[in-house]
Amino acid sequence: MMELESIVKGLHPLEIKLLLSAGPGEDITKEKLIRELSYNEGQCNQAFSWLSSKGLIEEKRRTKRISYELTELGKEYQAKGTPEERILKLIGEEGPMRLPDIANKLGLENRDVGSAYGKLSQKGLLKMDQEKKVCLAESGRGKPVDLELTRSLLDKLAETKQLTDEDLNDKEKALVSTMSRKRSSSKGVFRVIEREDVIYQLTEKGLAAKKILKREGITGEEVGSLTPEMLKDGTWKGKNFRRYNIKIPPSRVLLGRKNPYVAFLEKLKNKLTSLGFEEFDGPLVETEFWNCDALYMPQFHSARDIHDVYYVKEPTHAKEIEQPYLDQVAATHENGWKTGSKGWEYSFDRDFTRRLILRSHGTVLSAKTLTHAKIPGKYFGVVRCFRYDKVDATHLADFYQTEGIVLGEEVNLRTLLGLLKMFAEEVAMATEVKYVPGYFPFTEPSVEVHIKHPVLGWFELGGSGIFRPEVTEPLGIKVPVLAWGLGIDRMALMSLGLEDLRELFSKDIEEVRLRRERSNL
């Protein structure tokens, strides 16, 4: 029953009106619908097909039905006159004329003029004079019955478009049959169409549906769409609105959208700024100086071999390195400068330090920020980096690193651990945090933070430490600096439901359109 209720609510006005118009056991035909409900033929077909598929009406039987229409020729005759009418008119107005001249004047073919003349002379309306000119016959002053009948039929059909057998008397029927060809013939004046009409009746279910319609006061006259005019002139008042079938599946919408990975990174940036960090930014092309030397990585370090960073082909070197940083960093590498370190004890190469490369880690920008940092200060960057790596599911040639620093008189190992704990909980939703001694050439002590993530389980969230004085002092910073980096790629993949880092930078429009976040950062 519920099912029927919901069917009824989804009915179209064409269906509703049909149901309401029919009684039990009463035949429902197209004719009836056309006549009583002013449906056109298409609407009849729609209503029948929808209602039968819902089981509200059923086919009872079929009947043949003959109907008549004007052909194109018939339409022409109706408008311009039949050849007979036109010839009579012409001779009446212009006097006797030879047959070919008639054809010429009226723009008809000789053959048609000939056969019309034949008919008219038979009826005694026209005759041929001695000069073979056609002239009116003495007896032919009045028009014979069948000419008038033809005219009246043409006019009636032009008006109603279609007439059925029942609409015609026997004379008319006889006339039509002489002037018509069956179906789609173009030479005839009338077209005879034989059709099979299907006769429907309401089913039990249909009767029940009708009851519901009546109970609910649904008439099919409900308003389909609310128009601006209705609002303007107030005609919506007192009207009911057609109920919709709300179960129709929605269609695809193409919308403007943030890239989900960008959205992830935006949230990360929001989180970090909300924690008091200021964002830094910098060029993609860097020098060996800032990429490694300023971070106290010795120039002979194995991580600095040709096959670990991308070198710029042209130009190869920066024009200069900013002073006094160059001198101070060089001295620190060579002998520790004033930092209290013994240095790496080798001869610093000032040409090599100008070598241009694509920055290979975000710590470059942390180092550069030191030259103009506020104290106390907190800085971060989500930094595009480049690595000489084979690209696969877990390695990209260019990718983002999230890095930052905290400067202040009061920062120390314990505040570093506190900071890491905050990141673990706030950024990564960690439930447990573990700190492990680590190694980075630019920090001492160094700490790796491992976290237990609610979905991913234990993993290394990032590396961190206190910048070595060999890093900070040559860049003019006298206070301790905490440096940290977070590996957020795994969280990004998880949040987007992906498994391959390459998909973060997907070129496929459809893939990106359909991608969505699985959980919030």
Partner: protein, 565 residues
């Protein structure tokens, strides 16, 4: 970061006890080591060592030593080390260095190790630690290479000199007949692998004994005669050649300490240099050259955020295997001979951290108040992003590296301003992008089946050559956007551009422009404050054809840096 494989049995032998794998895992942090893999069946543990400045940990003996000191406080002392003040007895064992190696590979360190016969496991470990040391610490043998020989066949003194690569011939390890040095570089697997280190010199380093018997062609390959060490050999001659004296001396001390821990007696060798070195003309190796490091306890307290006494600090630093002397409120750290990673007092502070245990430090939040702030370009990007999304654009994000084919050829451009990579790994990543439009077109080229219309954009960085800049290059922040459908055209992109400018409260104008990637007459330069900051137009059908795109595209690209006040 180096990874080593240790055999459980040998490891337990060095450690003096056996450890469960999870016990090992928790104690390994004292050596900044992580267990990568463990095969109980084979009894092999794979370990990753994080500290690239602690090559002493890259062998079974060295790792066991550090953990044993940490766990049990066991003392290790090595009596074979010479110092600046005391030269140990070298007997007849000498290496004479010829001036000819000065500019090629100037340094050598050596010692002899006598014992009861090397066994299989130890020989494997010796070879592994030699490889790790020379590969990771010795920069793929270029700064350190090590050779091990049968000392009983050597007639001292050993001679180290540079020789003619064509005239000098010997049978290298793994071959049966004599080859000259040049042939070795061309044909021997080790010559092919490491030949780059010496190839550019006229003469190559060479080691012989006093009778002219060949030890090796360092850093490439040992001789088959003296340089084939087998199980059971009880007297070994070990040498290292290289370019950096400190690294070399450290590596020699590490190898000597490992063999001493395995029960070998280390016999020093005197190296006689033709010129003075930082440690004199003659150095008896293994040689201890490390300096003391003084740590002011106040400094440690400040950096660690804890209170600690000099006495506590002394104990903790000692617990890591160092010798420590207390002087007032400072401690002086004297590192063991196998370590050279104390450069600054902070390195001593790390010893305190590890010995005390990271978990003993209570995390506290930094209290300083600071203002969080996005960068100016990020703020602008966000405004632009909102406008683009409002107009129905899907944001994309692309890699910044690409190919010349995509960024130059397919775009019908000359590519003069494009930054090329000197050492690309593949041609897919041979340039740094100078425009985002090729990325957008690549998306179109693979997205013909995505429901149209397409409206895509990216906010990202590009870089171009720029002679006027210190770096000769300039990184820029671009907005690029592209529409594609049967009606995509100039007017629509201009409408969108004008919406962007309107909502940024900026004004722009257009001038007729020309660009090889766009249709002439349907391309415009975007002018802001009298400067060209971008371009809009309909993509040229020839470019679309290059990309295999069968739908019209129109695009725009502007440099957002100009819009920042």
């Amino acid at each position: 970061m180096p990874k080593i494989e240790i055999e459980e049995k040998l490891f337990s032998h060095f450690l003096g006890k056996s450890l469960e794998i999870d016990e090992l895992e928790s104690i390994a942090v004292a050596a900044k080591a992580e267990i990568d893999d463990y095969s109980e069946e084979e009894g092999v543990i794979k370990i990753e060592l994080n500290d690239t400045n602690r090559p002493d940990l890259w062998s079974t003996a060295g790792l066991a030593r550090q953990l044993s000191i940490y766990m049990t406080g066991k003392k290790y002392s090595y009596g074979f080390l010479s110092t600046a003040r005391e030269r140990k007895e070298h007997g007849e064992r000498r290496v004479i260095v010829d001036t000819s190696v000065n500019s090629i590979r100037p340094y050598i360190a050596a010692f002899q190790a006598d014992g009861k016969g090397i066994d299989d496991a130890l020989l494997r470990d010796l070879i592994q630690s030699q490889e790790k040391l020379c590969w990771n610490f010795g920069r793929k043998r270029s700064s350190i290479a090590m050779g091990v020989y049968r000392a009983d066949l050597i007639k001292y003194p050993v001679h180290y000199k540079a020789v003619d690569p064509v005239e000098t011939r010997f049978i290298p390890l793994g071959e049966e007949s004599k080859m000259n040095l040049k042939e070795i570089l061309e044909k021997h697997p080790k010559g092919i692998e490491f030949g780059w280190i010496v190839r550019n010199f006229d003469r190559y380093p060479f080691l012989t004994d006093d009778e002219g018997k060949v030890l090796s062609f360092p850093p490439i390959i040992n001789s088959a005669e003296l340089g084939a060490v087998k199980t059971g050999d009880s007297s070994l001659f070990i040498e290292m050649t290289g370019t950096d004296l400190n690294s070399l001396l450290l590596a020699a001390s590490i190898a000597a300490c490992d063999l001493a821990d395995a029960g070998f007696r280390i016999k020093p060798v005197m190296v006689e240099y033709p010129n003075k070195t930082p440690y004199g003309g003659n150095i008896t190796t293994p040689y201890y050259f490390q300096k003391e490091t003084r740590l002011d306890i106040k400094y440690a307290e400040k950096l660690l955020g804890i209170e600690i006494s000099a006495e506590e600090a002394e104990k903790l630093v000692e617990k890591m295997g160092n010798t420590v002397r207390r002087e007032g409120n400072s401690i002086v750290v004297i590192p063991p001979p196998y370590r050279n990673d104390f450069m600054h007092p902070v390195d001593a502070i790390e010893e305190i951290v590890i010995a005390r245990g990271m978990e003993s430090f209570d995390p506290v939040l930094p209290e300083d108040f600071t203002v969080g702030r996005l960068s100016r370009i990020e703020k602008l990007n966000r405004s632009v992003r909102d406008i683009m999304i409002g107009m129905g654009y899907q944001e994309m994000i692309y890699n910044y590296l690409g190919s010349k084919k995509d960024f130059v050829e397919k775009m019908n451009l000359g590519g003069n301003d494009i930054i090329e990579i000197e050492n690309p790994m593949t041609e897919n990543f041979e340039i740094l992008r100078n425009s985002i439009i090729p990325n957008l077109l690549e998306s179109e080229s693979i997205s013909g089946n995505a429901l149209y219309p397409h409206r895509i954009f990216e906010l990202g960085k590009v870089a171009v050559k720029d002679e006027g800049k210190n770096y000769g290059t300039k990184t820029k922040n671009y907005l690029s956007f592209l529409i594609s459908d049967s009606e995509a055209g100039f007017n629509e992109v201009n409408n969108h551009l004008s919406a962007v400018f309107y909502y940024l409260s900026r004004e722009y104008s257009l001038e007729e422009g020309e660009h090889p990637s766009f249709i002439p007459g349907r391309t415009a330069d975007v002018i802001f404050k009298g400067k060209k900051i971008g371009i809009i137009g309909e993509i040229h059908p020839a470019v679309l054809e290059n990309w295999g795109i069968e739908m019209p595209c129109a695009a725009g690209e502007i440099d957002l840096d100009f819009l920042i006040d």
